[in-house]
C-alpha cells in the first residue's frame, strides 16, 4: 500500500508543478526538517532547564508553603520573600562564607592539582600507579569522605591532632570543627582534598596535548624550567585552565552535602553557605518562596561566571584564527 501511495504522489508532483515552485517548497520543507531535528534539543532545554528556572524565579515572588502542594494556590506576595531573606543576617553571612569557601577551595585545588599534573607529566616508574591512587578522593562518595574527615578532625581523639601533638606543634589540640573561627577553614581544606584529583586529571590531559617540540625548542634556546613553565606550559594550557576553573567554580559555589555532613552549618552558623541556607529554608522550614530567593541568587552568581567563561572562550577562538 505504501509503495502505491508514494508512486502515486511522485507521479502527481512531477506531472503538475512547475520547477521554481518545486524548488521553493523543497527549501521550505528542508527548513522545516532542520527545525524538526533541532526540536528535540529545544524541547529538552525548555523542559528541563527553562521551565525549572522560570518556575524558581516566579516562586520567589509567591507565598509558597506546604499548603500550596495540596491546594495548588500560591498567592503572589511581591517582594516580601526577597525583603525577608535580605534582612536576615544569616544571608549576608552565608554569602561571605560562600565567597571565602569558593575562593579558598579553587585556589588550593588548582595550585596543588597543577603542581601534581606537572609532576606526573614527567614519566617515571610507578607514576601511573600513584596517579591512580591520587584519584581515590574523587571516587569516594562525598558524604563518606565527610564522615571520615569528621573523625580525623575530632579535637580530642582525631588523627590530625594526635599527629600535630606528636610533632610537638600543638598543646590542647586544634578545634577544627568546634570553633567558629576555624570550622570554615577546615571545610575548605577537606574540599581541597576532594577537588585535587579532578583538577589534576584535567590539567594532566591538557599537558599531554602540548607538542613536545615546543619544549625541545625552549631547551635549545636555553630557557630555565621556570621560564619554560611560564612561557610554554601556561599559555598552551590556558583553555584547559579556564574549563577547570569554571567547572570547579560551578560545583563549589553550590556546596551543600559536604557542609551538611561535616558541620551542619555550625558551629554558631560559621559554615552556613548559600546552599545550606536554601536547604534550610526550603526543606526544614518548608518556606519554598524564601528558599527560591536564595536559589535565584545562586543561579545569578553562576550565570555571571558562565557569561565570563563564554567571553573568555570567544577571545581564545579569536586568537586561534
Amino acid at each position: 500500500m505504501s509503495t502505491f501511495a508514494s508512486t502515486a504522489r511522485a507521479a502527481k508532483s512531477s506531472g503538475s508543478s512547475a520547477a521554481p515552485a518545486r524548488a521553493d517548497s523543497g527549501t521550505r520543507r528542508r527548513g522545516l526538517l532542520r527545525w524538526l531535528f533541532v526540536a528535540p534539543a529545544l524541547a529538552y532545554m525548555a523542559l528541563f532547564f527553562g521551565y525549572p528556572l522560570i518556575r524558581n524565579i516566579v516562586m520567589s515572588f509567591q507565598h509558597y508553603t506546604p499548603k500550596t502542594y495540596f491546594t495548588g494556590e500560591a498567592p503572589f506576595n511581591g517582594l516580601d520573600n526577597w525583603r525577608a531573606v535580605f534582612a536576615d543576617e544569616l544571608f549576608a553571612g552565608s554569602l561571605w562564607h560562600t565567597a571565602l569557601f569558593t575562593l579558598g577551595s579553587l585556589l588550593g585545588q588548582f595550585t596543588i592539582g597543577l603542581a601534581l599534573a606537572v609532576f606526573f607529566s614527567r614519566r617515571f616508574r610507578l607514576s601511573g600507579f600513584v596517579r591512580a591512587i591520587l584519584l581515590l578522593p574523587w571516587l569516594v562518595p562525598m558524604v563518606v569522605s565527610a564522615v571520615v574527615w569528621r573523625r580525623i578532625l575530632d579535637q580530642d581523639h582525631g588523627m590530625l591532632n594526635s599527629a600535630l601533638h606528636a610533632l610537638g606543634l600543638t598543646e590542647g589540640g586544634v578545634p577544627w570543627l568546634n570553633s567558629p573561627g576555624v570550622a570554615l577553614l577546615s571545610a575548605i581544606l577537606v574540599n581541597i582534598w576532594i577537588g585535587i584529583p579532578f583538577n589534576m586529571v584535567i590539567l594532566y590531559g591538557g599537558l599531554q596535548e602540548i607538542p613536545r617540540e615546543l619544549y625541545e625548542a625552549a631547551s635549545l634556546d636555553g630557557a630555565s624550567p621556570w621560564r619554560t613553565f611560564r612561557s610554554v606550559t601556561l599559555p598552551m594550557l590556558r583553555p584547559v585552565i579556564t574549563v577547570v576553573l569554571v567547572l570547579g567554580f560551578m560545583s563549589t559555589v553550590k556546596i551543600l552535602d559536604l557542609i551538611l555532613a561535616l558541620t551542619s552549618g555550625g558551629p554558631a552558623d560559621s559554615t552556613q553557605t548559600l546552599g545550606t541556607v536554601t536547604y534550610q529554608l526550603s526543606f526544614l522550614q518548608l518556606d519554598f518562596g524564601q528558599g527560591a530567593v536564595v536559589g535565584n541568587v545562586l543561579i545569578l552568581i553562576s550565570a555571571v561566571f558562565a557569561v565570563l567563561y563564554l567571553r573568555a572562550n570567544r577571545a581564545d577562538f579569536g586568537k586561534g584564527n
Binding site: Q155, G266, P267
Partner: protein, 411 residues
C-alpha cells in the same frame, strides 16, 4: 541527493525524537492502587524495620480482607516526598510523619481529623495526644513514643563513689569528679540541627524556659549549665558538632561516664559488653521538681481522599495497630514506649531497665504543642542560641534575646 525512502524516513525520525524527549515527562503519574490495598508512606528504609512494620500491617490487614503496601524513603525526605505526592494527587492512604512535622501538614487542611475516619483516640497518654494534635484536633496517632534520659556507666559511677545525679548541681559535680584522662564525665549533643535542639529542650523546659517566649528570663539557666559543663572540662568541646549517634559512640567507647540519649540506642548498648549501663531521669534544677523531657516519635495520619472508603480502610488499620496488645509488641520491637497508658504500664513492668523512659513519657512535652507550624523556625533559633553560647560568642541573655528576635521576625 537523498533517496525517496530516506526523504520519507527523515521527518518520521525527527518526530520520533521529539516524542521520545517529551513523552517520559508526561507519563510520570503512577496508576491508582487497587481498591483493597492501603498504601503507607513511611521512613522504614532499613530492611529489618521494613519487614517488622509489614508484619504488623499484615496482621491487621488480613482479617479485614485488605493488603498494605509500604513506600519507604529516608526519614528526612518523608515530608518533601509527601508534598510532591500531594501535588500530583497521589498521596498514600496513611502518612507516617515525624511528630514535629505534623502541624505543617495539618495546617494545609489536607489531613482528615482521625475522629472522622472512626479512629478511637481514647485512653492515650496526654503527651501522645498532644504530639498528634494541631489546633485542638487530633490528626495523627503515635503507636509508641520516645524521650530522653540520663544513661550512665555503672562501673565508672561506682568507682567514683557517685550516685546518679538528680539535680543540676549534682550533675555538675558528678561530671567533674568522673572526668580524668580521656574520659569525660558527661556527653550530650549540641549540634546545630534537630538532634541538638531535642537534647537542649529537657534542660530548657525544666528550668522554666518557654519556646513561645524565648527571652522570658528563665531559659538562660539551661544555657549556663551546658556552658559550665564544657568550660569545666567535664564535657568535650566537641559537643557542638556531635549528633546523638556520636554521643552514643563516645559512651560505648568508655569516653563518657554519663550521656543524654534516647531508647533507640538500646539495641547498640545491649549488643556491646564493654560498658555496663543503666537509665535514670534527666536531672532537674532543684530537688523534687519534675523533669520535662521532649516527646518524640512518628505519628500516622490519614490524608484526605476523594474515595471515602479508602479513608475508612486506613482508619480501620490504624485502630488495629493501636490495640493494647499490638502497641505493646510494637513498642518492645522498637524499644519505644507505647502510648496507651495501660500498655505503657505493662511495658514498664516487662522492661524494668527502661522503666525510666516509660515514666518520663508521662510528663514529657510535645515540641509543637505551643508554637505549631512555627516550630522549625523556633527550633532553629534555639540551636543558634546554644551554639553561640557554647562557642563563647555571646552570653546566655544576649543569645536568647537574639533567638527570640529571629523566631518572631517575618514568620
Amino acid at each position: 541527493m537523498h533517496s525517496r525512502a530516506e526523504r520519507r524516513l527523515l521527518p518520521a525520525m525527527a518526530v520520533g525524537l521529539v516524542v521520545a524527549t517529551v513523552a517520559p515527562s508526561l507519563t510520570g503519574c503512577a496508576a491508582a492502587p487497587a481498591p483493597d490495598t492501603v498504601t503507607v508512606l513511611n521512613s522504614a528504609t532499613d530492611t529489618a524495620e521494613h519487614s517488622a512494620n509489614q508484619k504488623f500491617f499484615d496482621r491487621c490487614a488480613g482479617p479485614l480482607g485488605l493488603k498494605v503496601e509500604q513506600i519507604s524513603v529516608p526519614a528526612d525526605q518523608v515530608a518533601s516526598k509527601a508534598l510532591r505526592m500531594a501535588s500530583s494527587k497521589s498521596l498514600t492512604d496513611i502518612l507516617e510523619l515525624d511528630g514535629s512535622e505534623l502541624p505543617q501538614f495539618a495546617g494545609t487542611e489536607g489531613l482528615r481529623p482521625l475522629k472522622d475516619v472512626g479512629v478511637d483516640t481514647s485512653g492515650f497518654s496526654g503527651s501522645a495526644t498532644s504530639l498528634g494534635s494541631y489546633d485542638g484536633t487530633q490528626y495523627g496517632i503515635a503507636r509508641s513514643v520516645n524521650s530522653l534520659a540520663l544513661i550512665y556507666n555503672t562501673k565508672l559511677l561506682k568507682e567514683a563513689g557517685v550516685e546518679p545525679p538528680t539535680t543540676w548541681a549534682e550533675l555538675k559535680s558528678a561530671a567533674k569528679r568522673m572526668t580524668h584522662g580521656s574520659t569525660y564525665g558527661m556527653a550530650f549533643s549540641a549540634s546545630p540541627n534537630a538532634d541538638g535542639v531535642y537534647q537542649f529542650l529537657p534542660f530548657f523546659w525544666s528550668g522554666g524556659g518557654d519556646e513561645a517566649k524565648l527571652d522570658n528570663g528563665k531559659g538562660e539557666a539551661a544555657l549556663q549549665l551546658w556552658k559550665d559543663l564544657v568550660s569545666d572540662g567535664s564535657a568535650s568541646k566537641s559537643v557542638v558538632s556531635w549528633n546523638q549517634q556520636d554521643v552514643n559512640d563516645q559512651f560505648v567507647a568508655g569516653r563518657a561516664a554519663m550521656m543524654i540519649n534516647g531508647p533507640w540506642q538500646v539495641p547498640v548498648l545491649s549488643a556491646q559488653k564493654k560498658v555496663d549501663w543503666a537509665v535514670a531521669r534527666i536531672p532537674v534544677p532543684e530537688a523534687g521538681q519534675d523533669a520535662i523531657p521532649p516527646i518524640g516519635g512518628t505519628v500516622m495520619a490519614v490524608p484526605k481522599n476523594e474515595d471515602s472508603t479508602r479513608e475508612k480502610n486506613a482508619g480501620k488499620i490504624l485502630n488495629c495497630l493501636n490495640t493494647r496488645k499490638n502497641q505493646l509488641q510494637w513498642g518492645e520491637s522498637v524499644n519505644n514506649v507505647p502510648t496507651r497508658a495501660a500498655a505503657a504500664r505493662a511495658y514498664a513492668e516487662q522492661n524494668p531497665k527502661l522503666a525510666a523512659f516509660a515514666d518520663l513519657v508521662t510528663t514529657a512535652r510535645s515540641r509543637t504543642a505551643e508554637v505549631g507550624t512555627r516550630w522549625p523556625v523556633v527550633g532553629d533559633a534555639l540551636a543558634g542560641a546554644f551554639q553561640s553560647v557554647l562557642t563563647g560568642r555571646t552570653s546566655p541573655e544576649q543569645a536568647l534575646h537574639r533567638a527570640q528576635q529571629q523566631a518572631s521576625t517575618g514568620k
